[in-house]
Point group: C2
Chain length 272, copies 2
């Protein structure tokens, strides 16, 4: 169960709330081009608390989703969420993404979002996803890249706190800069890659709600999940950390605050 | 003539070549949405060697362009370029962007690209551009943000060399991270801002020419223009610099290289 405990952001209620906020804010951006035909069998590999599952199921009401996660606790939250929305086309199952209890070629499509960045061996996971995919089936992989993020005003302290968060995740053997290598990862796993595209979000004071939500409900809370480890590992001192978070939140304020982040969406097929 | 000599990238033939390469690679990205009506008077504020002028004039063949620059040497190159292309709707004039020899309200539109990042006081320049613009006229401002750039594989040395380049420009009192604050700059100058949008470029091994061009004909040569100052100012040692440039060029290679950069385009109007 190592992978469960090494999910950097942890399993707190506050983190679940952050994931739902993030999903609500990013739904249009991440999911607008993701829809599956009626009757198709879709695997969501690593559904977590179901933050993406809702959008997936609503966008493709006649597809049949199987959403797996290694964490029973997360699956319980995901189930409750889906039921509360009256969604009926999702089946949940506890499973290890590196050794899934499905036959070869079981699914028409695979969807994986914000998962590869948290794995010891993302290529092995992609190979396993390819195994359970039918020949000709597609994979859609969405991952962020924390090295893509910048904000204004950007102080030394806010940059140092952000970098400390990146180091904490790297220290777990995971890759918070994985977005930029999604293309080679998919190629390496043996997929025929259709393309990798950036899905960016930018906000300035002309969109004060997005600016506030992006910073105060996604980025700063995400940084907070790394604080304890960052201090424990000596990656940053507490005074700098506090100043850094405070400066990051300052970037959410009009008239001059702004923020940019990009995710990457890769689409690929399994050859015949 | 201070501003002439403090153009960070210098005035060499090699730099002119870089600017033309950059323009050719980025033309579709930067100019596809920029077109002016027949008969309109457009000021290009800071045309340099004419790298953007060609695209502007070709996209709006019936508009009348006045392209100014502080450097007579750059203007000579721009003139030669425009003549070589058979373009006839551009008039060049040597002028200081902070004190232009034009009456109030002389132009229907202003276009400024890759200029504000090199000025001591970009807000003052924008106010001067607003002065020569007619009420109801538009400004289109395009600026990069060097803090937006990342690549794979990204080594410590390549990041340090890139950061040293940023520091050289900041040391001149200019802002290579200006893209992220284009919105507040336009607001501060008194424009009615319609919006600021990222114009991103991403390349991986699926687009080997763009990947090679982006790194070996734009980014690495741009870094080279800062080398002498970076070493002189003690921002980096020569061994780290050399390794950094070499590592940056490595990111241009298949199968796993990738690169991302974003510019920002702001559009705004002068109120009545």
């Amino acid at each position: 169960m190592k992978r469960m405990t090494s999910y950097m952001h942890g399993y707190s209620d506050r983190e679940a709330e952050r994931l739902f906020d993030q999903s609500a804010i990013l739904r249009q951006l991440l999911h607008s081009d993701v829809a599956y035909p009626a009757g198709s069998k879709v695997l969501e590999a690593g559904c977590g608390v179901g933050a993406q599952t809702v959008a997936l199921a609503i966008n493709s009401p006649a597809a049949q989703f199987t959403s797996i996660d290694i964490s029973p606790q997360s699956l319980d939250q995901a189930k409750a969420l889906i039921e509360s929305q009256g969604i009926t086309n999702v089946r949940f199952q506890q499973a290890d993404i590196l050794d899934m209890p499905f036959d070869d070629g079981s699914f028409d499509h695979v969807f994986v979002c914000f998962v590869l960045e948290h794995l010891d061996n993302p290529t092995r996971a992609l190979v396993e996803m390819k195994r359970v995919l039918k020949a000709g089936g597609t994979i859609t992989a969405i991952e962020g890249d924390h090295g893509s993020c910048f904000w204004h005003p950007e102080t030394d302290e806010s940059r140092k706190a952000w970098q400390a968060m990146i180091r904490v995740q790297q220290n777990l053997g995971h890759d918070p800069l994985i977005g930029r290598r999604l293309y080679p990862l998919l190629v390496q796993a043996g997929f025929e890659v259709k393309g990798v595209v950036p899905l960016w979000a930018y906000a300035d004071a002309s969109a004060p709600e997005l600016l506030d939500g992006g910073i105060n409900r996604i980025l700063a809370p995400m940084m907070e999940t790394a604080k304890e480890q960052a201090l424990k590992l000596g990656l940053i001192d507490e005074a700098t950390w506090r100043q850094g978070i405070s400066d990051m939140r300052r970037a959410s304020l009009p008239p001059d605050g702004s923020v940019f982040y990009t995710w990457f969406r890769g689409t690929a097929t399994k050859g015949y």
